[in-house]
Symmetry: C2
Subunit: 225 residues, 2 copies
């Protein structure tokens, strides 16, 4: 599936297939997946029910596609750009920024909030989604393990730290409001501060530079597109 931003409208008042997924994610999030009927989705998308079934075969396939698309976005907007960052600490700091940048967008917040609906998927679809989620946990664990190794941290379990971090980042769907008093930038800054200092402590120095890591690293993020 394309990972470009979804087109909202093709200019002729016709909704695109992707627009259907966006609308469905919003309605599922607002009403709860199981409280939402295909008629609700059709109405919200401005389609007849027959028109909706032209795009999707069932509500379950709609949910699967939304979750799979959310994981595509994670792949393209977080995982891929991180491959360009060679310094372990820079990579972890950038991951926090990119992950938050992705999930705090309104429609992606809705997708995060649907992740737990996995259990309503068919076994095959659930297995595929869970495999992708686990890959992301593994990547996060590796990012942290690389930092822990480089700075010789002895008292942090990278796997548990990865779950702690993903909890911090994904729980945002429970409380974040774009209209709220905290900007995305402030959230990124605080979360990076808490998590990186939490893993490393602020007294550690980089063996190469003998500079405190936060001074050595701040204030610039690696240049990530």
């Amino acid at each position: 599936m394309s990972t470009k931003r979804l087109k909202r409208n093709d200019g002729n008042g016709q909704f695109t297939r992707n627009r259907v997924f966006e609308v469905a994610a919003e309605v599922f999030h607002r009403k709860g997946y199981d409280n939402t009927s295909m008629s609700d989705v059709a109405t919200a998308a401005g389609l007849t029910k027959a028109g909706l079934y032209h795009h999707v075969t069932s509500k379950e396939s709609l949910l699967y596609t939304i979750l799979d698309y959310g994981l595509d976005l994670t792949e393209s907007n977080v995982v891929k750009p991180l491959e360009e960052v060679s310094d372990p600490l820079g990579r972890l700091k950038t991951m926090i920024d990119l992950h938050l940048r992705l999930v705090l967008e309104e429609r992606n917040l809705e997708v995060t909030g649907l992740l737990h609906e996995c259990k309503t998927l068919s076994t095959a679809d659930r297995t595929r989604i869970n495999r992708r989620k686990k890959e992301y946990v593994r990547m996060t664990t590796t990012l942290i393990a690389d930092v822990v190794k480089k700075y010789n941290v002895k008292d942090v379990n990278p796997k548990l730290a990865a779950f702690a971090l993903l909890g911090m980042l994904n729980w945002t769907y429970q409380w974040y409001k774009a209209s709220g008093s905290n900007s995305r930038e402030e959230i990124v800054k605080n979360f990076q501060q808490i998590f990186l200092r939490g893993v490393l402590g602020d007294g550690r120095v980089d063996g190469t530079t003998q500079q405190p890591i936060f001074t050595a690293f701040d204030p610039e993020l690696p240049d990530v597109k």
Copy 2:
């Protein structure tokens, strides 16, 4: 509602009212709230459907009672004991321990996983649950604000740090398995380490003792019942 451990069985093969809530939480968690019928709950609890309706008036009231009970447990097992801990850092460290101790118990993990189902409640019930959840966020924010103030931390926003912490703690329902390789103690230790060091840094000293705070504080937790 009583906050004692629920009786599983009264010895005569009759299930107690609380047992119905426990079973329902487990079934809701496993199948998804909306995929679960009252017949499913009755079957799982070993009751007839009429027998189930003797205990609860509707599925929605069952969900409300489960969530409300989860918040009762939080009140009695986390909030109240914390009132006995006077040192701000000790209080925050203890909160992480008690909150995890509570949510990592299997049946409470299920309740945490149901928190997002709030949107299926009636407006009045949702308002009551949300008010209680907000009170807990406020308490957590205050705990952190007290630490930040005592140690003169300038670069942490207590409200955002509270959301970060609650995310770390509550996201456990997504990944924790009692049969898994990480003990509760190891999770508590890692999460305390990451979060407290993240907020404070490990280079800071307590103005009174001039000892590094982690040395001054570890290894004993305040004596909390």
